[in-house]
């Protein structure tokens, strides 16, 4: 009977492809929109992910994210270093500044001061140059997305910038995950960053901590809080704070959420309509089969086989489409580092399965419960 079910489905090629296309399109819509949404939201944590070696971030109790931070007195560093279980602790500065380019344009940038000795605080990988270039005078390293923004058609290496009226020379490009706002980021040594960023006495934004036992980061962060009175978050907690901040403080997640919901509804409508139309087209055949002697259970199984075939084909194409989409845009800085979290294909699979099951069941309900004589009238 399964063979018959499959032939019923594929017999009319036009309808079959219509159905597969409908499901592929909805899967693409749902998967792709959710992927962009999640990746965009995760940009709120890019500052944390870019410094993968820090197990714990220590900050002023009012600080919230890598970009919303209140500076601490420099004595905080020694306090943290004194806490048992801290393997190392380094200063980390993050501040806003403005840059005047050669053409005279003014551009807002983020300045990140990394530890002079260890260079902890730099992204793991470089696109061009090595981290050592920071030991040369006035050196800064720019992030790759910033490069495309500030120097769209040229290499930034060797370019001179006026950074808050101080001279800076770009000597390397870091491979970094862009921030939510894709701000240009300039990395430099902590001591030099203090010169670039004028201002108040307190300029230590964070103390980055390596734990003796990284598995105990949570316990260590609690101990640091107890002993220093500062706020300490593990890497994962702080990343989540960054995402949460985006969700709470921008309208974009809401707007995007609406888009996702619309994509979902459109998907449901397409899949639901095409599949229930298909079942309806075949309702007389199903009724005749039931009259001849095919039990409801077997008819249900036939519909499940049909749903399974179009579902899996369409879903597969939709996911492939999403992968192709992400892949073809991966060179675009806006989509840099985008990936498809494994939960998303599962969500769209569940959605497709649910829609097919529901519409198949609704469309078949009459056949399954009414007197089969009806189809012979």
């Amino acid at each position: 009977m399964i063979w018959i079910a499959i032939r019923m489905l594929t017999g009319d090629a036009q309808k079959f492809y219509g159905l597969v296309f409908g499901i592929a399109f909805s899967t693409l819509l749902i998967t792709q929109q959710l992927t962009i949404f999640v990746n965009l939201i995760e940009r709120g944590a890019s500052g944390v992910y870019n410094v993968s070696s820090a197990d714990v971030w220590v900050m002023d109790p009012v600080s919230r994210t890598t970009d919303v931070a209140y500076a601490m007195p420099s004595t905080a560093l020694d306090k943290v270093r004194g806490v048992p279980g801290v393997e190392w602790a380094v200063p980390h500065l993050r501040a806003q500044a403005s840059v005047r380019t050669k053409d005279g344009d003014l551009e807002g940038v983020a300045v990140i001061g990394v530890d002079d000795a260890t260079l902890i605080g730099l992204p793991k990988a470089m696109v061009e140059g090595s981290p050592d270039v920071l030991s040369q005078p006035d050196s800064v390293i720019i992030d790759d997305v910033g490069t495309t923004r500030m120097f769209p058609d040229q290499s930034p290496i060797g370019e001179r910038l006026e950074l808050n009226d101080q001279r800076a020379v770009v000597r390397g490009i870091a491979d970094a995950i862009p921030s939510f706002t894709s701000t240009v980021v300039l990395y430099t040594k902590y001591s030099r960053a203090l010169n670039f960023v004028p201002g108040t006495r307190n300029r230590l934004s964070f103390v980055l901590v390596g734990a003796e036992d990284p598995a105990q980061a949570k316990a260590l962060s609690e101990r640091i809080e107890r002993e220093t009175g500062l706020k300490a978050q593990t890497r994962d907690e702080f990343a989540r704070d960054g995402v949460q901040f985006i969700i709470e403080n921008t309208g974009i997640p809401l707007n995007f959420g609406i888009t996702v919901a619309l994509g979902f509804i459109v998907g449901v409508a397409i899949v639901g309509l095409t599949f229930s139309l298909f079942i309806r087209d075949n309702i007389k055949q199903f009724g005749a089969l039931k009259a001849i002697g095919v039990t409801n259970r077997k008819i249900r199984r036939m519909v499940i086989a049909q749903a399974g075939l179009v579902g899996i084909t369409g879903y597969g194409l939709g996911v492939l489409g999403t992968i192709a989409f992400i892949w073809s845009f991966s060179a675009n800085p806006t989509f840099k580092g985008f990936y498809i979290p494994w939960q998303i294909p599962l969500i769209s699979l569940a959605a497709v399965a649910l829609i097919l099951a529901l519409t198949g069941w609704l469309a078949l309900r009459n056949v399954l419960k009414t007197e089969p004589a009806a189809v012979f009238r």
Binding site: R7, G11, G287, G293, R297, F376
Partner: protein, 247 residues
């Protein structure tokens, strides 16, 4: 043995009847109105006979044979097919009973458009769990008996109305059901083809332990009947081996 006789005698059914209906009544509700289409039909259909059911349009013929073959529930009354009270069965058991015992040909053939004629005719065997290729071979044999062997590989849409009907007949007979029910099999056919279909049904469907009921208007084939029942306004008004004189 004695017990079997006892049970089959319940409700006054004759022990040798293939189909037995007692007090079969069927109402249809259309909007506010309820019409009674069958009024307490009591019938015993014997095996080994070709029984014709005749009557004017709207007299309830299709309704009655639908109830006899287990696809339409009577409002009142009971129906026994080879001793089984079919409307006492649960839904699944009734479906399986139909699959193993009943073949029917209605005016709507409801063939599956995307599988070829022989596969359509093989559907009951496939539903019984027979291997698809074996089932199809058996169906081709049945089609050969019906003179449409050469149409086996065609899709239903490539067949004429009469050929489609014979595919439906092959589908009704392929699993050798004990009860065959046929609604106006000759209505769409010319005299010669109609005659041939009737001859075929006689040949294939009438046997010692089988029953065959045919609804027809076609007076050209009345001579083939062993028994003719006449329905008028939902009541049996004639039961004999010939048509009544005034018709």
């Amino acid at each position: 043995m004695g017990r079997m006789l006892d049970t089959s005698a319940i409700g006054g059914c004759k022990p040798d009847s293939a189909i037995c209906t007692r007090g079969v009544t069927r109402d249809f509700t259309a909007g506010q109105q309820t019409i009674t289409v069958l009024h307490g039909i009591d019938l015993d259909i014997r095996a080994g006979e070709m029984t014709f059911l005749v009557g004017e349009s709207g007299s309830g013929k299709t309704t009655l044979i639908s109830i006899m073959c287990g696809i339409l529930w009577p409002t009142l009354g009971e129906v026994k097919v080879f001793g089984t009270d079919i409307y006492d069965l649960d839904d699944t058991a009734l479906v399986e009973f139909r699959l193993n015992n009943i073949g029917f040909i209605f005016q709507q053939y409801n063939l599956i458009p995307s599988i070829d004629a022989a596969s359509n005719a093989a559907v009951p065997l496939i539903a019984q769990g027979m291997d698809r290729h074996e089932a199809r071979e058996r169906a081709v044999e049945m089609m050969a008996k019906l003179n449409i062997r050469d149409q086996a590989d065609k899709l239903p849409s490539q067949l004429s109305g009469g050929q489609q009907q014979r595919v439906a007949i092959a589908r009704a007979l392929v699993h050798e059901p004990r009860l065959v029910v046929c609604d106006e099999p000759t209505a769409a056919l010319d005299a010669a083809s109609g005659r041939r279909v009737m001859d075929l049904l006689r040949e294939v469907a009438v046997a010692e332990d089988r029953a065959c009921i045919i609804v027809t208007h076609d007076n050209r084939v009345f001579d083939l009947a062993d028994r003719i029942l006449m329905l008028e306004d939902g009541k049996i008004i004639h039961d004999g081996s010939e048509m009544p004189e005034d018709h």
